[in-house]
Amino acid sequence: MIEMQDVWKEYGNGVAALSGISVRIAQGEFCYVVGPSGAGKSTFIKLMYREEKPTKGQIFVGGFNIERLRERQIPMMRRHIGVVFQDYKLLQPLTVYENVSFALEVIEASRKTIQKRVAEVLELVGLTEKANMLPRELSGGEQQRVGIARALVNKPSVIIADEPTGNLDPDNSWTIMKLFQRVNDRGTTIVMATHNRELVNSVRKRVIAIEQGRIVRDQERGEYGYED
């Protein structure tokens, strides 16, 4: 599903963010990415949806060779990936419904498909009642659920989440986590960068730990392993 072969990433200022990462994540896996701030987690995540390009090495995501991708193929590849952010990235002037349907309109889905899919995912994240509200009328947890609904709406095979619970209290974090588990149960691969020790230690999944741009630990049903 996701494969990296000896991936290096150096930014323009000469800072090496990743130094020789090789990893394979199978279809349907649930995988945490942990590590101290500035260790390279975000770069690792951004490479997967081609927000950043590797300096060296090869990356495959769902059959796409990310490194060889042409400019015009990037949108096609992103339609197979759902991305969830710490700050939700919702459009403030649009309602919950519009924020989700936006992702389908943009890929020119039919009106029928849009109505059906948006209703489905809003029900999945439990926001059917709040479809006509604006993001600022929602709590942080609810906003993140809108973000997840948007990521799910075009049936991606992978969900990539960068600190999805970073701005949320423990209760809301648990709601989001349960949601991810349900999505994962349906066969969607989930890669989640997180600082949330409690989540990682209670819901045991594969843990990839990155420090100073290298994978220092990769264990099934692993622990968070840091004190912060």
């Binding site: 015009r72 949108p75 339609r79 991305v83 943009v106 890929i107 020119e108 009106r111 075009n154």
Partner: protein, 292 residues
């Protein structure tokens, strides 16, 4: 691209125009003001050119033949004048013809000429290839044996030509400067609009929108702004020019280029410029935001 998508772009573009009301207003004003001045300059320079052409075509050199030159030597003299460099045409006016013309001009007072015989000389009327060189040609004609004197509007001609050249050059520089200024204004205002919508573009890219799809509404916006920005000065200039053409009575060579023809051309130029500015402005200024 699906028809529904085109509809969506049009709807979104329109909605964005209203959503960014002040920015839209600023952009349209910038286009309108620029194009108004551009249109005005074009009209002005067309008329200056028209007037100078009128005047230049009337710039002729009258070369009066000395009375001692026998009639049978006239064809040779004409040939010789025609071969001078810079001469476009030579026309002979005999003293008999000249007298006839004089009598026509004098009309009822023609009797004053009777008893004088024919005091008028034979003459050649010459035109220079380049009106700017009328003076030089006249000098050459003057030095041709058999020509007694030459007349070509010596006193007012150099000044007039200078004024016209300056006016023409100034118009060209003004137009060039305005176009650059206008584009700068537009791309700047649109860049600000796009900057406020960076987030929207970013999210569109992340959920897999193609660049073409993202450009769609901006394209519609730019086009509409350019068109409205061109329509305003077009209407104003049209009415203004018509009013001037009808109200101000002018005499040749100071006549206006006839208005229905020239104004239609100017309107097309303005619409084309408006479209170009709007489309270019919106697409160019969003280019770097598409590289996410």
């Amino acid at each position: 691209m699906k028809i529904r998508t085109v509809g969506r772009h049009a709807r979104e573009g329109m909605r964005n125009l209203f959503r960014n009301g002040w920015m839209t207003f600023a952009s349209i004003s910038a286009v309108a003001v620029t194009l108004f001045i551009l249109g005005g300059s074009i009209l002005l320079s067309l008329n200056v050119q028209n007037i100078s052409l009128n005047i230049e075509s009337q710039l002729q050199i009258n070369a009066y033949v000395s009375n001692v030159v026998p009639v049978k030597a006239l064809p040779a003299l004409e040939k010789r004048l025609a071969h001078l460099s810079g001469v476009r045409s030579v026309r002979f006016v005999s003293k008999v013809q000249a007298l006839k013309q004089m009598k026509q001009i004098l009309k009822s007072n023609a009797d004053i000429m009777t008893g004088l015989g024919n005091p008028l000389p034979n003459a050649f009327i010459l035109n220079a290839v380049n009106p700017q060189q009328t003076a030089a040609v006249a000098k050459e004609v003057q030095s041709t044996p058999g020509i007694e004197s030459v007349q070509y509007g010596q006193s007012f001609l150099p000044k007039l030509l200078t004024i016209m050249n300056v006016a023409r050059d100034a118009a060209v520089i003004l137009i060039g400067g305005l176009l650059i200024l206008g584009m700068f204004l537009i791309s700047n205002t649109i860049r600000v609009t796009i900057f406020t919508r960076r987030r929207e573009i970013e999210i569109m890219k992340l959920v897999g929108a193609t660049n073409g799809f993202i450009r769609g509404p901006f394209f519609v916006e730019g086009t509409l702004m350019g068109l409205v920005g061109a329509a305003i000065p077009s209407v104003v200039l049209y009415e203004l020019y018509r009013w001037i053409a009808q109200t101000v009575k002018l005499f040749p060579p100071f006549t206006l280029v006839p208005y229905p023809l020239v104004i239609t051309h100017v309107v097309w130029v303005l619409v084309a410029c408006g479209l170009f500015m709007g489309v270019w402005g919106s697409l160019f200024s969003m280019r770097r935001f598409l590289r996410v």
